[in-house]
Symmetry: C2
Subunit: 369 residues, 2 copies
């Protein structure tokens, strides 16, 4: 599966796999794809350095990337405490009420929420970058539009390509003007933050909007046939996130959550502001229902909502409060029905792609050479 972009990055297949787990990212790279490690949960630079060391030892010199969450606009002088102070008491009481209704115990005294100081704080993301540029990372992706201009420049000086997610052609054009190298067109059906335009329509719109910049199709892709569809739409590669969540190398820290993912159908996700304050697709749970309930207080805007629910999310995960337990995931979750090694999933993708191209050749009445 060779495109100009895959050649430029030196990967066999134009399959980009986003994952928060180093073992998954490394396995994607070893299988012939391009693993992208999500950095948002690395609040301590030393932890990121440790995992990038591990990646170096487990990728056979093959290329991989890093995904950070960095707002393009800097808000000067605002601390986490300032943001905390903006959260209404009524919302805090609502969180406590929902958790109490489900009997979710508090964290132990002094037990920090892994989510509390999140990577979307620019200083945290910059700390991650200081580490990352010491490693031969080939791609820096940013989930919230283009990173700040100095970060783009710094990446380019290190020979690192910069990618940014976009949910509309307008956003994609803005990203291109900010000097990024690759646009990830993230369709409505994708897990995590998404807009309302589905991949079938979004991908070619973004391709046309930013040409000749390469575009990756993201959202709804979990089979080789879907990869063929994304590439037919003009993308130079595909970006898959959800599908790796149920690989054997993934470590969700919760058997109950893995079981929920394996059982969920394509209709069991919801685009909800419950997680961060911006619409993000995730498993539909009693937690998302509570925030989406018109009778409830509703989610706060980003970044307030993320801070408000940080401890609660940790508690739900730690105690595996099943009805509340969720995760960002796309509509493709309906196809995630068994835990399998990354290599097996990956080989299915490339085989399915070949099958789809053979079928299209037949439909176009071309014999295979």
């Amino acid at each position: 599966m060779e495109t100009e972009l895959s050649k430029r990055l030196g990967v066999e297949h134009a399959i980009f796999g986003f994952t928060p787990f180093p073992a998954v990212a490394a396995a994607i790279t070893r299988a012939g794809g391009f693993g992208v490690l999500g950095a948002v949960r690395y609040t301590a630079p030393g932890d990121l350095a440790r995992d990038l060391d591990w990646m170096q030892d487990h990728t056979d010199g093959l290329p991989y990337g890093l995904d950070v969450v960095m707002p393009a606009k800097k808000v000067e002088g605002v601390t986490e405490a300032d943001v905390e102070a903006m959260i209404p008491d009524g919302h805090r009481r609502f969180v406590a009420k929902v958790l109490a209704e489900h009997g979710v115990p508090p964290l132990a005294d002094g037990e920090a929420s892994g989510w509390r100081i999140t990577g979307w704080m620019e200083e945290v993301a910059r700390g991650q970058l200081d580490v990352a540029f010491d490693y031969p990372v080939k791609l820096l992706a940013n989930a919230l539009g283009p990173p700040p201009a100095d970060v783009v420049d710094r990446a380019h000086r290190h020979g690192v390509l910069v990618a940014a997610l976009a949910g509309s052609a307008r956003h994609a054009r803005r990203h291109a003007e900010a000097g990024i190298d690759i646009v990830v067109a993230q369709g409505y059906e994708a897990g995590g933050h998404t807009g309302e335009i589905a991949s079938m329509v979004l991908t070619p719109e973004v391709v046309d909007a930013v040409a000749p910049l390469p575009v990756l199709a993201a959202g709804g892709i979990g089979s080789g046939e879907q990869i063929a569809a994304g590439l037919a739409l003009g993308a130079q590669g595909v970006w898959l996130g959800s599908i790796w969540l149920t690989t054997t190398e993934a470590d969700l820290h919760s058997r109950a959550l893995t079981a929920k993912l394996l059982a969920a159908g394509s209709g069991d996700t919801v685009r909800s502001r419950a997680l961060t304050g911006k619409p993000a697709r995730q498993l539909r749970t009693e937690w998302t229902d509570a925030w989406d309930d018109p009778e409830g207080p509703g989610a706060l805007p980003m970044p307030l909502q993320g801070l408000l629910v940080a401890d609660a999310v940790s508690r739900i995960q730690k105690y595996e409060a099943e009805p509340l337990l969720g995760t960002p995931v796309g509509q493709i979750v309906g196809r995630m029905t068994a835990e399998r090694p990354v290599r097996e999933v990956f080989d299915d993708l490339t085989r399915g792609f070949e099958r789809a191209v053979t079928r299209l050749d037949r439909i176009a009445k071309r014999s295979r050479s």
Copy 2:
């Protein structure tokens, strides 16, 4: 573009074009596709017979189909007057208020709304069928799931294939069990009634759910590249509706509406219950905003909403009340930027498909034979 289904129906290309306009349906068929005439607005059987006569004279003996709106479950003994009586006065006042705010005049005395007695009434649809079976219609499609069993049997006795739209794998399986021949997998991005699963995910789910029945991919398709994507996902053909609305053969009876369609972007549609009471994608207008407003009374369930707004929709169209003027259309509306003849649109589709297959062959490193 040849699949088993296109061969079975005797068409050159597996492109199914749904349209309420005979001139468009005939032009699609003449171009090598399969034109499907929407029958919902033919309340008088004579009008349908007149237009099917015209179709016969303008399709050179090539195949075409008919699309009706027929609920599978019959509600015995319920008249239109019974349904009218179920509409709350508050909702009627809301309609009057919104129209008054925009200065929309009433219809002339005795002027019937073309929408008033709609084709979803089973007796109207059965009247259409009595006419249709006198013509060599090759396909009967139903927008509300499978038609009643006796209608499926009658179609099969006439050698007519039956298609039904589905927005989920579960619905598709139910349709297959009802004995239909083709499932149209209608994605979230489509115009008209849709579910929440996007085409990229829905198409292969439905293909697997009803195999070996053939599936048509619908939703988000308006280019040859999108056709290649739909077929890569396992469909045996594609079903396009929106793209024909701005062809020169289409007759929207409103230059203002055509202008709105040509100007709209992919983000200018909304999935709203304003039109029929069930979620249907359409242009977002001040009319849909009024019904989707949490402060308003909200849309009534189907079929009440359709009856409630029938006159209002006619008035909005007749007087071209621009801010309220809309139509069902999919997210592909962003690509409808010029009025063009059906033949030109169709040839672009087949050329774009060839281009996409050539590109995929290159990505798969196959040389073209």
